[in-house]
């Protein structure tokens, strides 16, 4: 899987740009805010239809312009397809593959990409939201109906919370009305937990391969799912069993939920712990360890996508060298060596070996222009 070229019109700080890429390593060199991260973002947007930096699509359009356009030829399973993504202000993004309109959500037409950036450390350091997001994204790649289950669950959650708030105000129980939402809440919630546990097990087995190579020493890794209704050892249950536990627990908090006017247990509250050599990385990990862990998690994502697609996803490294020592970058590249396409955005190439640079295609970026 690789991107052969890209055409950019009015995207971020680029006016007009046409670039031809190498199927292996591409390096974007430039100072701060010259546009190298924007270029990484453009590639990601073209392949995936969304940005990894912002949810506000209009910000992708160049200042004082009305629309942006991205186009490029990408290879998938031996075929070259023409990918296009465009957005007019106050409108929705339009995605085309070989001139046919394709919904952005349709993963069959993605150029799979994994973007590494400084932000990734939040998966380890940040609140439960970041870990849930990371886990759910991988889960929706591996099990395409997961996105739909999660979407439905969040709708049911909202509806259920409205009813719980009403109950709090009136202190009455429209049991018949709750029933319809409760049964979907239990079913969808259990399906979410079931799939997450499955993916977490896969992720853990990937990590135990990758982590020692990244650290250069043997270590034990455990990923522990923190559920609001399961116990730690319940990590391999059927949907039915999960639903029963969910049901038992929710009956216990029934009155409390009305008191609070909201759903107190369920997958929307869950989290997972990353334990390396018996140390909970979020709480006790050093800065350096947390960064390594974040990279290991993303590499595990690469590995899971490779297994799914039978092809290595395109790897984007956004400004990682400035934040990480070169040894880790090199290890990271070794892990995908000779197989995948890599894009690296960096301030300078001083850290890279001559041999490495000779194998790479280098682009110098200044103020939205490339030579």
């Amino acid at each position: 899987m690789w991107l052969k070229n890209i055409q950019i019109l009015n995207f971020r700080n680029f006016s007009r740009l046409n670039l031809e890429f190498s199927p292996s390593i591409n390096i974007f060199v430039g100072g701060n805010s010259q546009g190298k991260t924007n270029l990484i973002e453009a590639i990601y947007c073209l392949g995936r239809g969304i940005s990894f930096r912002t949810f506000e699509d209009d910000r992708l359009i160049k200042w004082e312009k009305d629309s942006f356009y991205l186009g490029g030829e990408g290879e998938r399973k031996g075929n070259f397809l023409k990918y296009e993504l465009s957005l007019a202000k106050n409108s929705r993004k339009l995605r085309r593959v070989n001139s046919h309109k394709v919904p952005i959500k349709n993963i069959n037409y993605w150029l799979w990409m994994v973007a590494f950036s400084i932000q990734d450390v939040k998966i380890v350091q940040g609140g439960p939201f970041y870990r849930r997001n990371f886990l759910d994204e991988i889960t929706s790649f591996l099990y395409p109906n997961f996105s739909y289950i999660k979407f439905s669950f969040s709708k049911v959650l909202n509806q259920r919370n409205v009813l719980l708030r009403k109950l709090r105000e009136k202190r009455e129980y429209p049991a018949h009305q709750m029933l319809g939402w409760n049964s979907q809440f239990l079913q969808l919630g259990s399906e979410i937990v079931y799939l997450r546990l499955k993916v977490l097990r896969k992720l853990a087995s990937c990590l135990s391969n990758i982590y020692p190579r990244l650290r250069g020493s043997t270590c034990s890794i455990r990923l522990v799912y923190n559920s609001s209704f399961l116990d730690e050892e319940d990590n391999d249950l059927s949907i039915r069993k999960i639903k029963e536990k969910f049901y038992q627990k929710i009956k216990l908090v029934k009155d409390k939920e009305v008191e609070n006017g909201m759903s107190l247990i369920g997958p929307h509250r869950d989290d997972f712990q990353i334990i390396v050599n018996k140390i909970n990385q979020r709480v006790f990990g050093s800065q350096g360890d947390q960064r390594t862990t974040a990279i290991a998690l993303k590499l595990a994502e690469v590995e899971l996508l490779r297994e799914r697609e039978g092809d290595i996803p395109i790897i984007l490294l956004d400004d990682v060298p400035s934040d990480l020592d070169f040894k880790r970058i090199k290890l990271l590249l070794d892990l995908v060596k000779g197989k995948g396409q890599v894009f690296i955005a960096t301030q300078n190439t001083g850290e890279f070996s001559k041999d490495f640079l000779e194998k790479s295609r280098i682009f110098h970026i200044r103020e939205g222009e490339v030579d």
Partner: protein
């Protein structure tokens, strides 16, 4: 700026229609403007007439020019089955596949606490009365396969259970989360044929 007051008003009205954006509204408005007077008058008349003549059937709540509607009056239809749908357009979908010979009941929406749609705001009491009056052996719950439609079906099932009537739900395989409207005829036929009797839910 180029601006015609009455044309702008027409465009504004057209953009309120579902599925019509600013651009299509403008195209339609200019098209109407270019038509001969009597052509435009026919459109106005058609809109006026449909609003005057079409009412709700007092039995099934479907749109009809007569009351009761032709379906409710048709003696050849199977009066022991009622298919419960959200909107009148769903009746059209079922009629189009010509598979179903029973009667209908139009709820007028689905339960949604978020939108403030309670069971009381739907046409549910008249459904219960129809079943209580006897002669009904099966109620098919054909609400949309999304979360609101599902919650409505579970709610209705609970009420109908005590009336000793068979209650079934359209089979899955319908586009999940969608609108019945987006199901094609084959899918809808399968969903109808494969309908399942509903089961008791776990009550919290």
């Amino acid at each position: 700026m180029y601006y015609i007051n009455s044309l702008d008003r027409l465009i504004n009205q057209l953009t309120r229609l579902p599925g019509i954006g600013e651009r299509s509204a403008r195209r339609l408005a200019f098209y109407i403007l270019k038509q001969p007077q009597q052509e435009a008058a026919r459109l106005v008349d058609a809109i006026k007439t449909v609003k005057e003549r079409v009412k709700r059937c007092s039995i099934c709540n479907n749109f009809s020019e007569e009351d009761p509607c032709p379906i409710c009056r048709d003696e050849k239809r199977n009066r022991s089955v009622i298919c419960v749908v959200e909107e009148p357009q769903d009746v059209f979908l079922f009629e189009r596949i010509r598979e179903y010979q029973g009667l209908y009941h139009v709820l007028g929406g689905a339960i949604s606490p978020l939108k403030g749609i309670n069971p009381e705001s739907l046409n549910i009491n008249s459904l219960l009365k129809r079943v209580e009056n006897g002669g009904v052996k099966e109620v098919i719950l054909a609400t949309d396969p999304d979360t609101e439609g599902e919650a409505t079906a579970i709610y209705l099932f609970k009420l109908l259970q005590s009336l000793r009537v068979k209650v079934s739900r359209l089979a899955h395989g319908l586009p999940a989360g969608g609108d019945l409207e987006f199901a094609d005829e084959i899918t809808l036929t399968h969903a109808l044929r494969g309908r399942k009797e509903m089961e008791e839910e776990w009550e919290i």
